[in-house]
């Protein structure tokens, strides 16, 4: 089947045409970089997304610290991943890259901090 989709790898938003009539040999066109090809293939086999959110910080100069999955995780598990953040509270100071939740849902992917938070 030929599918039209928009690549979300970067803000360019390339319009991809993905041919998945042969699952072992998915063909992507319309991309302007190799990431587009990878995205197009992944999107028909097992779509993945980065997940970003916030968790509470204790004793910091701000109330919340932003976090992200270190790599994209399966789209179908986004809400499970977010559940893993519920009630999580970290102590200031926090540095960008600090692991906030390790190995989310056994996916091998960590939630890491994306903001530096100094202790108050």
């Amino acid at each position: 089947m030929m599918r039209e989709m928009i690549c979300i790898c970067c803000p360019m938003g390339c319009r991809l045409t993905v041919d998945d009539s042969d699952v072992n040999n998915v063909k992507v066109s319309g991309n302007t970089c190799p990431r587009g090809e990878k995205y197009g293939k992944e999107e028909v086999v097992c779509p993945k997304r980065m997940v970003t959110s916030v968790v509470r910080v204790k004793g910091g100069d701000v109330a919340m610290v932003s976090v992200k999955t270190k790599e994209a995780i399966e789209k179908s598990r986004i809400f499970d991943a977010l559940d893993a953040l519920k009630g999580v509270e970290v102590k200031a100071p926090v540095k960008i890259g600090d692991v906030i939740v390790k190995d989310v849902l056994g996916s091998g992917v960590d939630f890491i901090a994306t903001k530096n938070v100094a202790a108050r």
Binding site: M5, I6, C7, I8, C9, C10, P11, G13, R15, R49, M50, V51, T52, S53, V54, R56, V62, A63, M64, S66, K68, K75, I78, L82, I96, T114, K115, N116
Partner: protein
């Protein structure tokens, strides 16, 4: 009264990049004035990813992107003041500002860079009738409440406007357990990035209704529903198409306006189309020694381009302070035939930096070429499968094209159909 070579108003992405590049161009007497208590500006609340692909060749979240530039500024020991609001500037580059620690401060600057960003268009500006209950937020306010303060502004949400902040907030509210019932867009197209429609709406089956608007907001105390209706091609609501959506929250993402209240005090000429200053290719406004860059100049969709433009402005402001800026005869660049505006609006005839033009189109066009025409002669053309008002276009001119533009009497940027 103190004297400063360069005062940068705003410590967000534009101000930080301008400071860094002015420093690297040899300027050491720099002061950044930031009204918030942190450097980084709006990036601090943009916790989603998608920043930095152009600048750093990797995908960062807003706070990470900001941190890179903040580190650059800290490493260079560039002076900055937080919690400091600029109260006025004038064309003699006298700057007054205030904060809690220092009280009222007055500076005389050799150059000023305006890097104060933009603000959201409020409900009042779009004349939505209805109640004045709690529960009506601009999307950016809701973003700050959730991501910075850790509070939820609502549970059942309708979003008016499909600008990027609205789209991002649709997903953000969904992530935090709210139900986003619809995103309603007045125009027949979105002003947001396509990728955001895919990953913020489609991924979560949030309906996007084009050519619709909110015609009534109901509720006592708190919003209890909104009424939406289809609009005709003159954008007027069509009677009989009304439908009521139950919700406790209405988020507005109906456009950004460059914040030029200070510019006006200094008699900086503004473009009625961009809402920002009219500038030359050095990002200098028509007020001598006052530069502008980032969203205060024109609203960008990518922070990477803000950084790039601001680094340019910082470098050129440093040159101005050294007395090296050319400021003689200029060539005007007009936007025509589908192109709404071009920045810069003027180009110095002298000077040898390659030109970079930024523009937006006024509608969605397919299979067109984006052209630069100098005195009737096409010196640059690029084919585009699609151009939309939501995505800023950039034209990088090479040496020959730059020269052609600088040597002509009148340049035009326009769209032409591709046969």
């Amino acid at each position: 009264m103190s004297v400063k070579n360069l005062i940068i108003i705003g410590g967000g992405p534009a101000g930080l990049a301008a400071a860094k590049s002015a420093y690297d161009a040899g300027e050491r007497d720099i002061l950044i004035l930031e009204r918030e208590d942190k450097l980084g500006g709006i990036l601090n609340q943009c916790i989603h990813n998608g920043f930095g692909l152009h600048t750093f060749k990797e995908e960062l979240t807003g706070p990470e992107y900001a941190a890179r530039y903040i580190d650059e500024v800290l490493e260079r020991k560039i002076e900055y003041k937080l919690g400091t609001t600029v109260l006025s500037i004038d064309k003699n580059k006298r700057v007054t500002c205030a904060n809690e620690q220092d009280g009222l401060l007055v500076y005389e600057a050799k150059a000023i860079i305006l890097a104060c960003g933009c603000r959201e268009r409020p409900r009042g500006a779009i004349n939505i009738a209805g109640c004045r209950a709690a529960g009506i937020f601009s999307a950016g306010t809701a973003q700050k409440l959730i991501n910075i303060d850790g509070y939820m502004p609502g549970k059942e949400v309708v979003i008016l406007g499909s600008g990027d902040i609205g789209l991002i907030m649709a997903r953000r509210m969904t992530f935090q357990g709210a139900k986003v019932k619809a995103v309603v867009e007045l125009m027949p197209y979105s002003s947001g990035l396509n990728r955001n429609i895919v990953q913020c709406l489609n991924d979560f089956d949030i309906p996007l209704m084009f050519s619709h608007t909110v015609v009534d907001i109901k509720g006592k105390g708190r919003v209890s529903s909104v009424v939406i209706a289809a609009v005709d091609d003159k954008l007027n609501p069509i009677k009989g198409t009304e439908q009521e959506i139950k919700c406790d929250t209405l988020l507005l993402s109906v456009g950004l306006l460059p914040e030029n209240e200070l510019s006006k005090m200094a008699d900086v000429a503004l473009s009625p189309i961009t809402g920002g200053a009219i500038v030359d290719d050095d990002m200098m406004t028509e007020a001598d020694g006052i530069f502008a860059c980032g969203n205060v100049l024109h609203v960008h969709d990518l922070v990477d381009f803000v950084s790039e433009e601001s680094e340019w402005a910082g470098r050129r402001a440093a040159a101005y302070i050294k007395g090296e800026k050319v400021n003689g005869e200029k060539v005007g660049i007009d936007a025509k035939d589908g192109v709404r505006y071009v920045v810069p609006q003027f180009v110095n005839k002298d000077g040898d930096e390659l030109l970079k033009l930024k523009m937006r189109v006024g509608n969605v066009y397919k299979d067109v070429k984006l052209c630069v025409v100098c005195d009737g002669e096409e010196v640059y053309a690029r084919k585009c499968r699609i151009v939309t008002p939501g995505e800023m276009e950039t034209i990088n001119l090479n040496e020959k094209q730059t020269r052609a533009l600088k040597n002509c009497k009148q340049a035009v940027v326009c769209l032409k159909a591709v046969k």
